[in-house]
């Protein structure tokens, strides 16, 4: 308990706001970086590059395909060789070895695969967040190399790990923020007001999902879709918080506590959309869980409270006061 008399202590809400919104650096430890890379590689990256690709042409070039030909991925032997290299790079990535080169290879494969896929006449976003995260980590590793020198090419120092995690978080924040900006521009500021029409999108996506496999029911979620249109204020109450949530995601960069809370909030929001629209956001949810919720860190904090001799050290701010 604090020694200060109750009258001189700030009000409870002030202390709570300060606890949640105080700006503190994320002092990520090397072991945390390792656990994050391990989870990211096993849950997300492992599935992000295929051993075989069906596309052999790029009929509607998108992005870098305007300047480069990515159809080499359509050749089965090339694609398979790159896939083998991808798996070797994942091992090096988890170990944190030669990060600028390892991440450079992962970026090359991920961007090539995504660009060729998006050059078929439609644009998909399944792996886009994953690619952006690798790009952010690659930039961070290059920046660290410039600052720490070539001698650190093979083994990254702890501050390089910290920068990789921090830029990853910033990349994800930027992706959600730009999505919110697009909503504001696309709807001319009326997005929150027009959310009752989201019912139409719910019906469309559930019907589309039915035609993918012809399992389930074509009329699934039809009642919910109609209810949102019949009760517009209910729709505004339930759907419209998505916009401010995305727009203010930068708050999650203030400290570890709000990062965890915000990560959980956005995972909840994605889960709600998945249930309503049959749209999967598996990679987004996993990345938010790894880089924002950071469960291993909180587990170690808890363990050290009860067993101070536990070998893994956390951020000094989260050590138990003795």
């Amino acid at each position: 308990m604090s020694d200060a008399p109750a009258s001189t202590r700030p009000a409870l809400w002030r202390r709570a706001a300060s606890w949640l919104f105080r700006r503190e650096p994320f002092e990520v430890r090397a072991w945390e970086g390792f656990v994050m890379r391990l989870l990211f590689a096993v849950l997300v990256l492992r599935e992000s590059f295929p051993p075989f690709l069906k596309f052999t042409t790029q009929p509607k070039p998108n992005g870098l395909a305007h300047w480069f030909d990515f159809t080499f991925l359509g050749d089965p032997s090339t694609c398979h060789a790159l896939w083998v290299g991808w798996n070797v790079a994942l091992v090096l990535y988890v170990l944190g070895l030669a990060m600028p080169l390892t991440l450079g290879y992962l970026v090359f494969c991920s961007v090539s695969y995504g660009t060729l896929g998006n050059s078929q006449g439609w644009v998909g976003h399944t792996f886009q967040g994953v690619t952006l995260v690798i790009v952010a980590q690659w930039f961070a590793s290059l920046w660290s190399l410039v600052r720490c020198g070539w001698k650190r090419l093979l083994f990254s120092p702890e501050r390089a790990v910290r920068l990789e995690v921090y830029w990853t978080q910033q990349m994800l924040v930027a992706a959600y923020t730009v999505s919110a900006v697009s909503k504001l521009i696309g709807s001319r500021g009326r997005w929150m007001w027009e959310t009752p029409l989201f019912g139409l999108q719910i019906r469309k996506s559930t019907e589309q999902d039915y035609y993918n496999s012809l399992t389930g029911s074509l009329t699934e979620n039809q009642g919910l879709a109609q209810a949102l249109i019949d009760h517009p204020w209910l729709a505004r109450l339930v759907i419209s918080p998505a916009l401010p949530l995305e727009l203010c995601f930068c708050l999650a960069l203030l400290n570890r506590r709000i990062a965890a809370v915000y990560g959980l909030l956005i995972i909840f929001f994605h889960t709600m959309v998945t249930e309503m629209m049959r749209l999967g956001f598996a990679y987004n949810k996993q990345m938010l869980f790894i880089f924002f919720c950071n469960a291993p860190f909180w587990i170690v904090v808890l363990v050290r409270r009860f067993k101070p001799e536990f070998p893994l050290v956390v951020d000094a701010r989260y050590e138990a006061r003795r």
Binding site: N62, G124, H125, A174, V181, S182, G199, Q208, L214, I229
Partner: protein
Amino acid sequence: MSPALHLARPISRFLRWLPWKFAICVVIAASCIKENYPVSHFPMYDSFERSTFYLYVAGADGSPIALQTLTGTDITEIKMMMTYRFKGEKARQTKAAAEAKKKGEKLRVMKVDEFPLELKQRFGREILDWLVQHHPALPGKCGGALKLMWVDLFVKDDGKLERKVTELTEVRP
């Protein structure tokens, strides 16, 4: 002290203070570059209309086929192919209108809803051809033909959600 130097100091102080520079740069870049892999401005569901459409694939008898189960192609990709073509057509018309304006002529750019059926059918055939090219065995499994079905979804004046299905086009390879 030169005026430039006068300005440089507060700017550099501001830049040093500014948090999350990397995120800010990405937001600005993505808003400008838009949909160019690996960058995106993520425009999905950025606005809501009172009507929308999607497409599904049917066999020779008009009954729907489980597209993703049979081919791995998601049904949303079929709609995105059509939307992409609509955007291309709109861009072509806008360019033609700009050139006509230079010559003193007036050319109206059509809204997507006003595109003629023949144009939609041509795009539909292109999409089915793409499907056949990548999955040559598919028509055989569906009675020798593939049909592209157009589904209109809209909110009626009384607030009820309605759907209307029409056959857009078919291919018999």
